[in-house]
Symmetry: C3
Subunit: 349 residues, 3 copies
């Protein structure tokens, strides 16, 4: 669904100041280079100033102070956030239909809050509780004794294993699996035997988890994902991992068992964390890096490489390795000269 | 289903020349080392000549000019392609049954072409259009306003989010998820807020995508996958990524948001591309390599390592690093000698 | 479900010796640091002795010989295994309900063993055979002519493509896909054409495969996973791969086509194996390492890095690379001195 607003309306909605042709009608959004007269666009700093001035966007969301002569502008402190709010206004999500499809299989003693939506062929296990206004997509399978908070959105084909507990406003994308057994075995008499995985999974409010990601249940104690943390597609969260609040974990990262990620950590794509690693508050893990088992990344540090080290060290090292051919040449020259010197010195004067 | 043909028949079918016992009945296919008299096998070059001569295969598909005395041979310019055609003849796929299972949930205003097949418990959202002869497997969930072309094959449990547009002859394997939200957030007041993902996904003709792969919808504009591109299992395609035609992307590769992959690019397994990377036409990315955000890989180049660099440089560098122990030893020797020299020189003559 | 036992009971069940307050009631389990009087905990060696002595656990499972004064102890040779057995006794899995849900779609000529359980909306293709006491979760889709042994456990939303053959006591977690087409194409006239994938998949007894993992069918011959092998979440097993018995493969590892993994191999997370690689018996592949195509890892070897090399070499090399700045400095000093020497020598004495 699509709607339209004047620049003035939008400015009011995002708490910004409108400048220029503030009665202009805006009905779309686009990047600076593709925006037309009916579109809003945004820039965050001087870096995009030239592009913004060249843009045909009917309205620019921009921070105060940037000089944008003759442009229609909405000034806000955080233009990306303001722009996101404008998108939500212009492209409101389709209205929820709080209906429970007749094919949904709902077990005994399931408690459903008001206005819950359940799609076709979804299955809800015995004794589960679904909070008000939560939506469960087609083909989702929720095991027994699930607790799901209010205003959650489960896209089609999500699996929650028995006992999983999830907060409010949580979004789980299609194919994600929460609560599967952790990867634990004991070798005895030449065979691997399953180490029972009896912990659960607890996901706090405002978490989002991407498509086909997997979050294992704890071995003895719960796996936990903290409030406001966002996890991308195809991410693996191992058993008994503790992830704090307001973290972001990009696609295809794997977090091994019992690792601890503190609040506000940023993890790029394809990162690997060994078991029992600890990443302290606000640290940043660069793409594809590897944290060894039992290692700690210090608060606020940015690390990269495998084994991960502080970014600056890693870059220096990479630069040095790149200079190796040159280094080798110099060493060769030195040896030649040295031999010549030695030869000269050793001949009878 | 399995059928059988004479060598002559097969030669005719693949447009090749038959030599030897051309009336021999062939009913199977196998690698050179395991093939028996009823089997066809193939070789592409002299590299497998010894193996081919030792093989018991009843028929060898081979390029012209390779000397294969006493063998029954079908000569074709591209033996692998000829062999693939022979497999299709001997092992035709089971006949399609163009039936719509009574349990399929088909929304209002859905348009179905002729001979569409829809499996049990599949769900098709309102306003979707399914082209002629397309098959939708059991448990697939297609959102609203999907466009799916003709002769597509969706294996069981595929999810297409609302608005996804797919061409003809596209194959999507089980568990793959197309059109999930891209991973975009804005930090405001210490919290991540969702940046609405309002772009779509457009997949061109003849694309194949493997099991449990994920293709995110665009942030503002569409994510696109070009004609004839083949994507393996567990691959992540981020929001607004543009993949050209005739690319191959191997398993577990991740392509971050807004990256551009031009035509005929080959990407090996577990490769990571940062956001806004560009890979020009015909480039090859080696296994596990990492392309940094905003970087360009030049047309036709083969790169490897993280950060990725031209393969030859990367190999040279690896060789030099491997020689470091030796290098260090030489440097040590040089220092010792130098110190001795210096000591000698400094003593009173 | 939860039960309770005396220390004596538990000791008898695991074949161990009880010491201390052996009539104490144990109803839970916990790690040493969090265990209370009703909990069992365990330690394997002196490494955790201090923690064990400080623990409030009502019962410690420990190896013979460790001095644990005043503690209630169950002595067993393999405490981790004993502890796993105790968990199974105290937390028995919920009883199976061998019911076939009325919504399950069971094709013609399907053979079901005794006490088979099939969940809602599961689909079983024609001609399949399901062994006694096997459970097939909600929303699973099994193609035609599947063979599934006895006592298997398929969690919800597993897909088995047609013809897959699976042994007894196999556990497949939610979202895993077995038997999808391998990634094989032939280039002809500038287009990729599908190389038909006509091999199958054979999974032996006692295998476990994690959530959203993918196992491709063979190209010409079967993909095989040996007895007792355990595979984690989001793992990719390519076409015609041969995995031996009693291996463990951690999360997000990718094994390319035609690779061979012999028995008792341990593969850490995010490892990549090129096609036709071979890993001999008992080798260990470190996290994120990369085995090049056609390479062999020797029996018993531990390797790491990309390209993978023996762990000790890899660590030495890493240490040397880390010393490069120092090395460079020394080389610089040497050059300076050398130049000075040369200058001195060349001046007229």
């Amino acid at each position: 669904m699509k709607t339209e607003k004047t620049v003035n309306d939008l400015a009011r909605l995002v708490g910004g100041e409108a400048e220029g042709t503030t009665t202009r009608i805006i009905s779309g959004v686009a990047p600076l280079e593709n925006a037309g007269e009916g579109d809003a666009s945004f820039l965050e700093s001087e870096r995009n100033l030239t592009q913004a001035i060249a843009s045909r966007a009917g309205c620019l969301v921009a921070p105060p102070g940037l000089d944008l002569p003759k442009k229609t502008v909405i000034r806000v402190r955080n233009p990306r956030y303001g722009f996101a709010q404008i998108i939500q206004v212009l492209f409101p999500p389709p209205p929820r239909r709080p209906e429970i499809h007749p094919t949904a299989q709902i077990g005994d003693n399931v408690t459903l809050g008001t206005e819950v939506a359940i799609g076709p062929y979804a299955v809800i296990g015995e004794g589960s509780r679904i909070g008000a206004r939560s939506s469960i997509g087609a083909g989702c399978v929720l095991g027994e004794k699930i607790v799901l908070g209010e205003d959650c959105l489960l896209y089609p084909r999500v699996t929650l294993y028995a006992g999983t507990r999830i907060g409010c406003r949580v979004i789980l994308h299609s194919g994600c699996v929460v609560g599967g057994d952790g990867f634990g075995y004991v070798m005895e008499a030449g065979q691997y035997h399953k180490f029972p995985q009896i912990g659960g999974v607890e996901i706090a409010d405002d978490v989002e988890i991407g498509s086909n990601s997997t979050v294992d249940r704890g071995a003895l104690e719960d796996t936990r994902i903290g409030r406001g943390t966002k996890i991308d597609n195809l991410v693996q969260v191992g058993h008994t991992v503790q992830i704090g609040a307001n973290c972001v974990v990009a696609s295809q990262t794997g977090i091994s068992g019992s690792s601890v990620i503190e609040d506000y950590v940023v993890i790029a794509g394809q990162v690997g964390l060994g078991d029992h690693a600890r990443v302290q508050k606000g640290a940043i893990l660069g793409g594809q890096c590897g944290i060894l088992p039992h290692k700690t990344v210090r608060a606020g540090q940015t690390v990269w490489g495998t084994p991960a080290r502080p970014l600056r060290e890693q870059l220096e090292q990479q630069a040095l390795v790149a200079r190796l051919p040159q280094l080798l040449q110099k060493l060769g020259a030195l040896r030649t000269r040295n031999s010549t010197e030695t030869a000269r010195k050793n001949r009878p004067d």
